[in-house]
Symmetry: C2
Subunit: 384 residues, 2 copies
Amino acid sequence: MDENSIYLDHGAATPLDERVLEAMKPYFSQKFFNPSSPYLPAVLVRREYEEAKSVLANLIGAKSGEIIITAGATESINLVFNSISGHVIVPNIEHQAILANAFCKDSTIVKSNTKGLISPESIKSAIKPNTQLVSVALANNEIGTIQPIREIAEVIKSERQNRLMRGEKMPIYLHTDASQASGLLDINVARLGVDMMTLNAGKIYGPKQVGLLWSASHVKLQPLVIGGGQERGLRSGTENVAGTIGFAKALEIVIQHRNFETKRLKDLRDMMQNELINNFPDAVVSGHQKHRLANYLHVAFPRIDGERLVFILENRGVLVATGSACSANKANRSHVLDAIGLSDEIANGSIRITLGRLSTQDNIRTATEIIIEEVRNEYKRLNT
Amino acid sequence: MDENSIYLDHGAATPLDERVLEAMKPYFSQKFFNPSSPYLPAVLVRREYEEAKSVLANLIGAKSGEIIITAGATESINLVFNSISGHVIVPNIEHQAILANAFCKDSTIVKSNTKGLISPESIKSAIKPNTQLVSVALANNEIGTIQPIREIAEVIKSERQNRLMRGEKMPIYLHTDASQASGLLDINVARLGVDMMTLNAGKIYGPKQVGLLWSASHVKLQPLVIGGGQERGLRSGTENVAGTIGFAKALEIVIQHRNFETKRLKDLRDMMQNELINNFPDAVVSGHQKHRLANYLHVAFPRIDGERLVFILENRGVLVATGSACSANKANRSHVLDAIGLSDEIANGSIRITLGRLSTQDNIRTATEIIIEEVRNEYKRLNT
């Protein structure tokens, strides 16, 4: 990246923290052993791997034996759905990895409101006798709306108790994909009340291609990948030692600075949002204004071509996203913007700004000025 | 690893090549972008990712669009079997990732001979009208026997032609897991005559948790992991940019030095083998003496406790394996040694020595002396 570039796409990818890289380095060419090898240096590597898993578990209020290391959030999500034979409930604004899996099942897709919020009541009324899984992201990856997971968990808990009382054996689980939220929100699984949680190291300045699935001990998982029987038989293949150690370090760091960083990013985001709204009173900020990730600013300038704006801003050194960059097929219109009922005119004029560690007061001020200038130019162009 | 340790377990894991790490570094915290992001720096990252896939494809004589990057050989193998609905044929000495998948299918397990060799005739006679997959590792991961893949490919080709002539539509594919062989053997897919091939970066001084599946364009794959639609919809999840660039560099380096390194390791291995046999005429070297990976020496000292020997050697700084380290469950007796008909007395006295880049004439001489000394001590102990 050009030194003078202002990176405003932390929702798509984050740079690897230098401290995380330092923690991983010994495992590249010194402690490179297969953790299943019998000699002491390999046994120590296994111990360090297990310790890193314990750290990850501790940081989310779970037990070490409940964590499965995966190659990222998408694999974790597929592992969840692979374990489900019954009916599933997912919101219509979920990430494609969730939706693609739900479409392969007997599923009910519940609707979000115009703020991207999923009501616990809508989940409750979608539950059927054979509902086995409800999967709701802790925060939406396009517009940043934070879901009322605790309240949804109460709904699931109450359904579980009803089933127990009726002597029914069909289990019901709540899974949350907390990939996008884990740097900024409480992800203690007991406090959230979930049964399964997906995290992604690549979103929190950790190594890419590393994720985890936490599942409570009462959840019965079915492996996607079988073979040598690693990860309690739930994910075969030689363990990802360096990646897991990096992941633990990355999560430790984000949680340590979470309160401070959340406040800092919220202040910067709000400053930018206010400036943009002051200059363009017609601009539409999507997502819930209160229950929203502190680093998210999804903003639409009606009638403007959002994709064009992304390239114009890039020429000025400001890197923002059009929609979700998670999809390999960018030709599709964002299903999230459809779901929250944005008109074409507004949806097409939207950009997604996600702040993060590379954001400073200075560069956010500069970026804000550049965006205002270029949006103004675009409106001038449209009006002449 | 202790500087003075002599690492003789290259079959289990290899240290990351410094040049590979250098190639990967820019993608950690500089070019860390999501390759699906729209701005130029991310577009360039996608291009570099695609270029690395082209390099990988070129190195195995394939086309870039035929490569799927995975998290390792086990995932690649699971992707192969996930795509198969018909009957499968696998040898009884395959890696557990292959066997575990075959056991979930209608399968025929063909027997190896006592040298670990799979005869093309045994494959031929196992073929049924609904056989869809034959999967044979290019070289065995425990004893190093190299399989006659070209001849097996001829059997498959002839069956395919017969089916075509009979107007039958059931396809038949040959997959080879070349993970263990890729540093030392020709892995040109056209010359091998295979339809699918699995490779693993972690076995060739590349990054761990990176593998690939090559499949010819006529093979219809079914994804294991769905979501954003990356890798032509066959493996969703943000692409592994750094890992793939490292993998390409690692494969480039091993292929460049393959002839030299094969000769070098064979000379060292043969020197060690001859010394051991001269000193212990009862020692049993497993695997085919001619068709065997140049770096493999699987040797048994009858009546000796192989596991104990591993720990004794470790105390002397010599790191060897008992059996395959790929398994998380080391309590199981090696199925490969069973398959080649080793008696308990011999199998239990075996160690697996795998040479590699960390092997030098000096340290192989030293290790040979130490092994001779300690095996002699063990026999003395048994005889008093």
